[in-house]
């Protein structure tokens, strides 16, 4: 896989290069860039399959590079040291990222995933989705990318009624009646959707308060949803759920 590495620190580039050479021999690093401009030129020149892209690069971000590139015919693995906002956006778009310092195991896994995506040619247009999400103001209702095996669905957070955990999988129940299975644990979506107002009513249930009809006293506490579903509320969460719904 022809790969370009982008990071504003040369040491990080070198490091990643060494790790890739050691753990991912199928990766061929065709160029490295420490600035957005350089990266832009290199991408235009080499047409890589894969990009390792640092999010925070001085005053610019890796997202700025993506904004400039109209044709995104490559996969991206974001690399970041500590950037809550950036990672959040990447997660919403269901894209892949690595944390610095890079764990060789995670690096191998990320390359494996990228390989499959390149092979299957999943063109989810996720990068454009990511950019559109970043552009939006905080007031607008965000969308979330739900990657399934052969397609990626972009769902408005407002259309999610609830999520149910099934071991390391998560079922999404949408307002139009659709039920989608995603191969990521509920915890991950709870972290993304709690800031959007969602409530973890139970270890296995994440609920959108907009679709809660009433609070039933049966079984120590149950939520009745507008579509008739009943969701148990576990004891440790009871007060918190009441508080959120009381508002």
């Amino acid at each position: 896989m022809r790969t370009i590495l982008v990071d504003d620190e040369a040491a990080n580039l070198e490091n990643l290069k060494i790790l890739l050479a050691k753990y991912c021999p199928e990766i061929k690093v065709v160029a490295c860039a420490t600035t957005i401009e350089e990266a832009f030129a290199q991408v235009k020149l080499h047409h890589p399959d894969l990009l390792f892209l640092d999010i925070q690069m001085g005053k610019t971000t890796g997202f700025d590079l993506l904004k400039q590139l109209t044709e995104k015919t490559f996969e991206v693995v974001f690399v970041t040291a500590y950037d809550h906002y950036g990672i959040q956006a990447v997660k919403f778009a269901a894209l892949d990222y690595l944390l610095k310092p890079v764990d060789p195991e995670e690096l191998k896994a990320a390359v494996e995933k990228a390989k499959i995506r390149i092979k299957n040619k999943i063109d989810g247009d996720q990068l454009n989705f990511l950019l559109s999400q970043i552009k939006k103001s905080e007031a607008t209702i965000p969308k979330i990318a739900l990657p399934q095996q052969h397609e990626i669905r972009y769902v408005s957070v407002d259309d999610i009624v609830r999520c149910v955990a099934d071991n390391t999988y998560t079922f999404f129940f949408l307002s139009n009646g659709d039920k989608i299975l995603i191969s990521k644990p509920l915890k991950e979506y709870a972290d993304l959707l709690k800031p959007q107002g969602f409530v973890r009513a139970h270890q296995s249930h994440l609920v959108n308060p907009k679709f809660v009809k009433s609070w039933l006293k049966e079984d120590g506490g149950t939520l009745l949803m507008t579509n008739g579903d009943k969701i148990p509320v576990s004891k440790p969460n009871r007060e918190m759920v009441k508080e959120v719904l009381g508002k």
Binding site: L19, Y82, L99, K100, P101, V102, D103, P104, E105, E106, A165, N167, T168, P185, L186, K187, D191, R200, Q203, S204, S234, K235, P236, R238, E239, K242, E243, G246
Partner: protein, 556 residues
């Protein structure tokens, strides 16, 4: 005055000889470059200025109080300027002019204008007049002063200052209120101001009280004035102070004149801000006779600050206010009846609010306790990685470094809750790092009936106990050390336990440095949040080891 304007207007069409096509400051009438008269109208030395095409804007007539023969010209990013004057041929020899750059270098020193640009012919508007060039000057980033007089009036010197430097936003250095003290009783503001100027700013006649941004002032008769001090830019006279009051009805504006600046200070009489309301003080340059090419714009830099004035004195109500008050009272009566009806509901809500507030406090305390737990282990771990690097065990160094990063991130991330899977991974990371140093054995297990992926527990709950188990339990036992961690489900309870085979300690004694006090504190804080599902801590310690058991009752 009129005469001069006519003079100015009439000569424009006749100046075709010096036309520059790329000049952007063109006369509207004929498309020729504009000549600005920059000597004062009362001067007998008419000096004209032409700017180049680089110039963004020009303000050609700004007067200071004090000198009636002085004019200030401000230019925006000009490169070169051209100066000239029109003189009757018979009086050519009486004029003397100097051009001084940046107050230090004489470019021209008391010279007679000699270079003739144009002779006005007999039938023209100005027969017998010569247009004399005073020269072209590079003005990039400069201040140019032109001094000119006509003999024999050697002391009637006209001064023209041309500034071609960026206008800076005025920098407010001080803002204070001056309050009356005993010494000033019975004196008017102007008398006090005079006295202040005479005796220095920190005058003992008035009490100085700094004014902070956004401060609320209770107005009283003892407040005499507000003093604003700005950095001396050399051109302070162009900065105007505007005081805007946003009262209940419409904004009121007061613009103070430039002559009010005394050195770099301005005094604002309390009369200007004695009415209650929100005040905004803006200090911005005000340029006179500004000329900007069509389509261009100029934004002047400004500085502002706010304060609020309230009136303590009781006021009689106006009819409008009485009406409003009656509405409010009426509303209140209605509200109270609603309140009585919903009394029970309300009370419950208040309790809930109080509870959530208590919870909020507990959460904050929890946050601070957690950051205290931020382990000294971090540095030992770094030393361990350093050791691996020095031994050239690069793969291991990489592995431990990423583990270390994961642990650090978890401490920094301040997550409230963490899944059992993630907790297990962190404990594993931690133990692997410590194992590197001490060589003990360990095992982490969870009962199969636990949904480890989805059950969450408070983050960093076990970590401090585990640190104790390593440090005081197994550290000295080397490879004989053993730590056992279990997540067990008993009915609806979740039990987390850590067992080590160290030498144990007396649980009744208060061990400093064991971090136990902190952890106990933390558990009691957690209990104030999760009231219905209390956390129970049980520590059993003996010669054969120590078991720490945390029971999360009714958690599942």
């Amino acid at each position: 005055m009129k005469k001069i304007i006519y003079f100015f207007l009439f000569c424009l069409p006749l100046l075709c000889f010096s036309q520059e096509k790329n000049d952007i400051f063109l006369s509207e009438a004929n498309g020729n470059p504009t000549y600005y008269r920059i000597s004062r109208p009362n001067s007998d030395c008419p000096v004209l200025l032409r700017v180049d095409e680089k110039t963004k804007w020009i303000s050609f007539s700004n007067h200071e109080s004090g000198d009636t023969l002085k004019n200030n010209v401000f230019l925006g990013e000009a490169k070169t300027i051209h100066l000239e004057m029109r003189i009757h041929k018979d009086s050519l020899r009486y004029y003397r002019y100097s051009v001084i750059k940046n107050d230090s270098v004489y470019l021209v020193d008391d010279a007679i204008p000699r270079k003739i640009n144009f002779k006005w012919p007999k039938g023209s508007d100005f027969p017998e007049y010569f247009t004399m060039s005073l020269g072209d000057y590079n003005v990039v980033g400069k201040k140019i002063v032109v001094k000119i007089y006509k003999l024999p009036q050697k002391f009637k010197v006209n001064t023209i200052v041309i500034y071609n430097q960026p206008l800076l936003p005025p920098k407010v250095l001080t803002k204070s209120l001056f309050l009356e003290s005993i010494n000033t009783k019975g004196l008017s503001v102007s008398e006090i101001t005079k006295m202040m100027i005479k005796r220095g700013r920190e005058s003992f006649f008035l009490k100085r009280q700094p004014l902070n941004e956004g401060e609320t002032i209770t107005i009283s008769d003892s407040i005499k004035l507000m003093s604003i001090g700005i950095e001396n830019t050399g051109v302070n006279f162009i900065y105007k102070v505007k005081i805007t009051r946003y009262g209940s009805d419409y904004p009121e504006e007061t613009v103070l004149t430039t002559s009010d600046w005394d050195n770099s200070y301005i005094s604002v009489d309390a009369e200007y801000f004695k009415k209650p309301g929100n005040y905004m003080v803006t200090i911005a340059p005000e340029l006179r006779s500004l000329d900007i090419p069509r389509g261009a714009s100029l934004t002047l830099p400004l500085t502002s600050f706010n304060f609020i004035v309230i009136d303590k004195r009781a006021k009689l109500f106006t009819a409008k206010e009485l009406f409003l008050i009656s509405i409010i009272i009426g509303g209140f009566v209605g509200l109270i009846s609603v309140l009585i009806l919903n009394n029970r509901k309300k009370r419950a809500a208040t309790q809930l609010a109080q509870k959530s507030q208590e919870k909020e406090i507990a959460k904050l305390q929890l946050e601070s306790v957690r950051s205290q737990l931020n382990p000294h282990f971090l540095f030992n771990a770094l030393a361990g990685i350093q050791n691996l690097m020095n031994k050239n065990e690069i793969d291991n160094a990489n592995r431990y470094l990423t583990k270390f990063a994961r642990l650090t991130r978890n401490v920094l991330d301040h997550q409230d809750l963490i899944s059992l899977t993630a907790e297990k991974m962190l404990l594993d990371d931690y133990l692997q790092m410590e194992q590197l140093r001490f060589g003990f054995q360990y095992n982490i297990s969870a009962s199969p009936d636990l949904d480890v992926e989805n059950i969450e527990i408070p983050a960093m709950l076990l970590q401090p106990f585990l640190e104790n188990a390593v440090k005081y339990g197994v550290a000295e036992k080397g490879s004989n050390g053993q730590i056992e961690i279990n997540f067990i489900k008993v009915d609806a309870d979740l039990i987390l336990s850590i067992t080590d085979n160290g030498t144990g300690f007396d649980t009744a004694k208060n061990y400093d440095g064991l971090g136990l006090a902190l952890s106990k504190n933390r558990i009691s804080l957690l209990n104030s949040i999760y009231k219905e599902t209390p956390f129970m801590l049980d520590i059993q310690s003996g010669g054969n080891g120590t078991t720490v058991k945390i029971t999360l009752t009714q958690w599942l």
